[in-house]
């Protein structure tokens, strides 16, 4: 199928989605929709590198940096998020560079790469807690609200529709970035690196540089997603937005949805959020921990029986049917 043929339905769907807030859906539905869009963007950002065997557990750090930098600059110095967000993204990219460059130079791959990046996530979380005078530590923090709650300068909106449109824009931007990586020489080159790094180097692929490029792209997008999430939630917490927990959530959702397909991470976001909500409603405050346990078991099953995720499985089925026909 041609690219245009594929993007036409997607464009129509996006346009239809953009009209949704105009019908005034219930606040809860809008809240879920915004969350799905923003997490879809973040999971897509992770998968842009994850699909090449670069499994990072450091994305909690990029998310946290992207979230905290604009909030801190706003609260401490009144700097608009329009400046704070790019600075946060830049800082996340720099931290990805500091971790990624030595790792790729020294051929730290696979589990070892995951562990190094895991350390980065913890450094970010602990730093936020340690700076409790300005970040509120484990209690979290709230960006200073503007009077009336609606301001483009502060990127604060009472009406969820604004964040819906921002989320929709980011999500589409994430899909575009995915395609951009796919359409350049980077995609087969990164696949080649994932299959056999030495052979890739031997035939002239600049392994370190390519891995670094895709890592920096992924970190930048994740930080951007974090920033949007922080502006939307108006509440930042190191445990839920910067630690190991969030890193694992990103990895699990991307794997469950299918990190090798463009829409896989999006499916992962829908799945995990709907599942979380369903379990929360089913168990409520009784049997605390049951929801998390079920969530964990399901994810283990996914990883064992559906390593290419839901979208991967669907693609496989379709291909099998196509081959038979």
């Amino acid at each position: 199928m041609s690219d245009r043929g594929r993007f036409l339905p997607l464009g129509a769907a996006a346009l239809a989605l953009a009209l949704v807030p105009l019908f005034g859906p219930p606040s809860y539905v809008m809240h879920m929709a915004v969350q799905i869009l923003l997490w879809s963007f973040i999971y897509t950002a992770w998968s842009i590198m994850g699909r090449f065997g670069l499994v990072s557990l450091g994305h909690g750090a990029f998310l946290g940096i992207g979230m905290y930098v604009p909030a801190l600059l706003w609260n401490l110095y009144g700097v608009t998020p329009w400046l704070g967000i790019p600075l946060g993204v830049l800082l996340a990219v720099l931290s990805a560079l500091v971790i990624g460059w030595p790792c790729f130079r020294l051929k730290v791959v696979g589990h070892y790469f995951a562990l190094v990046t895991l350390a980065l996530t913890e450094v970010a979380r602990l730093s936020i807690i340690a700076a409790r005078d300005i970040t509120g530590g484990s209690l979290g923090m709230t960006p200073k609200p503007v009077p009336g709650g609606h301001s483009w300068w502060a990127l604060q909106f009472v009406d969820k529709a604004y964040f819906f449109w921002i989320g929709l824009g980011l999500w589409l931007f994430g899909l575009w970035a995915w395609r951009a990586v796919d359409r350049s020489m980077r995609n087969p080159a990164l696949e080649a690196i994932a299959e056999d790094e030495t052979a890739a180097a031997a035939i002239g692929i600049g392994v370190t540089r390519l891995k670094l490029e895709v890592t920096l792209i992924s970190a930048a997008l994740t930080a951007l997603g974090g920033a949007a999430m922080g502006q939307y939630l108006q509440y930042l917490n190191p445990e839920t937005h910067a630690g190991i927990g969030i890193s694992l959530q990103i990895v699990f959702a991307a794997i469950a949805g299918g990190m090798y397909a463009m829409l896989g991470p999006t499916v992962g976001a829908v799945l995990t959020l709907v599942l979380t909500e369903a379990l929360r409603i089913a168990f409520g405050t009784t049997l605390i921990g049951a929801a998390n346990t079920i969530y964990g078991v399901l994810l283990i099953l996914f990883i064992i029986f559906m390593p290419r995720g839901i979208v991967g499985l669907i693609e496989e089925r379709l291909r099998a049917r196509g081959a038979k026909a």
């Binding site: 052979a199 890739a200 031997a202 035939i203 002239g204 692929i205």
Partner: protein, 240 residues
């Protein structure tokens, strides 16, 4: 006869993996248009020699000059762009990529991208079998076809010197014959070739000159005919 300016010249090159030294002061030259063999038993340092020339590991000591330019310590992608291509041991194709994508990756260096289409057509002409199989995953090729694909992939960067590491390794005897026929065709196309091999007998029929590498040192060198006539070589490698 005047010595031509060598295309590749190694002068006292040593190389090591961590604390383990694999090459000790190796010197050799390859003139333009020559086919040079390096023979030696397992563990002699043959693969290390290939890797140090192609930039996969840096030399500890010594100088490596390619067409008069010092290239020792350059990263591998710069060496490829400079005109040296490496056909690694055991082919090392990307099994989950198609034959066409494997070839495409051979032209990854920016200098080669502009001439990608032209070279692809030429590689397909050289190896029509690869054209037939272009959409197939490289992992599903037979051993001989894989070697063809690995050579084609190396040629895609437009090299002037081709390094071949044990092209016959792991292949059935009849396929080994085919692979050596491929190497002859590459030679006939005018490429300069440096081959390391354990298969000494067939290799000496293929190359102009050869070096004997043993435990990281060059023990002997000469024309193929000289080495074939050498009693030590005959006893140790030719089973005579």
């Amino acid at each position: 006869m005047a010595e031509p300016q060598p295309m590749l010249a190694l002068d006292g090159v040593s190389a090591a993996y961590g604390g383990f030294q694999a090459l000790f002061g190796v010197s050799l030259t390859v003139a333009p248009g020559e086919a040079i063999g390096v023979v030696g038993p397992n563990g002699a340092g043959k693969t290390t020699l290939m890797r140090v020339i192609s930039g996969l590991i840096p030399p500890r000591q010594g100088r490596i000059a390619f067409e008069g330019q010092q290239v020792g310590g350059w990263p591998a992608h710069r060496i490829v762009a400079g005109g040296i291509a490496h056909v690694p041991e055991n082919r090392r194709l990307f099994p989950a990529l198609s034959v066409a994508d494997n070839l495409r990756m051979g032209a990854f260096v920016p200098a080669a991208r502009g001439r990608y289409a032209e070279r692809l057509a030429w590689v397909y002409e050289l190896f029509p079998r690869l054209k037939e199989r272009q959409h197939q995953l490289a992992g599903t090729l037979s051993g001989g076809e894989q070697q063809m694909c690995a050579i084609g992939r190396a040629l895609m960067s437009g090299p002037r010197l081709l390094l071949m590491d044990e092209p016959s390794a792991g292949l059935a005897p009849v396929v080994v014959e085919q692979v050596f026929a491929l190497v002859r065709r590459i030679r006939a196309e005018g490429f300069t070739v440096l081959i390391v091999e354990q298969n000494v007998r067939q290799m000496l029929e293929l190359v102009d000159r050869a070096y004997l590498l043993d435990v990281g040192r060059i023990r002997m060198s000469g024309t193929a005919a000289e080495l074939r006539a050498n009693p030590d070589i005959q006893r140790a490698y030719l089973g005579m």
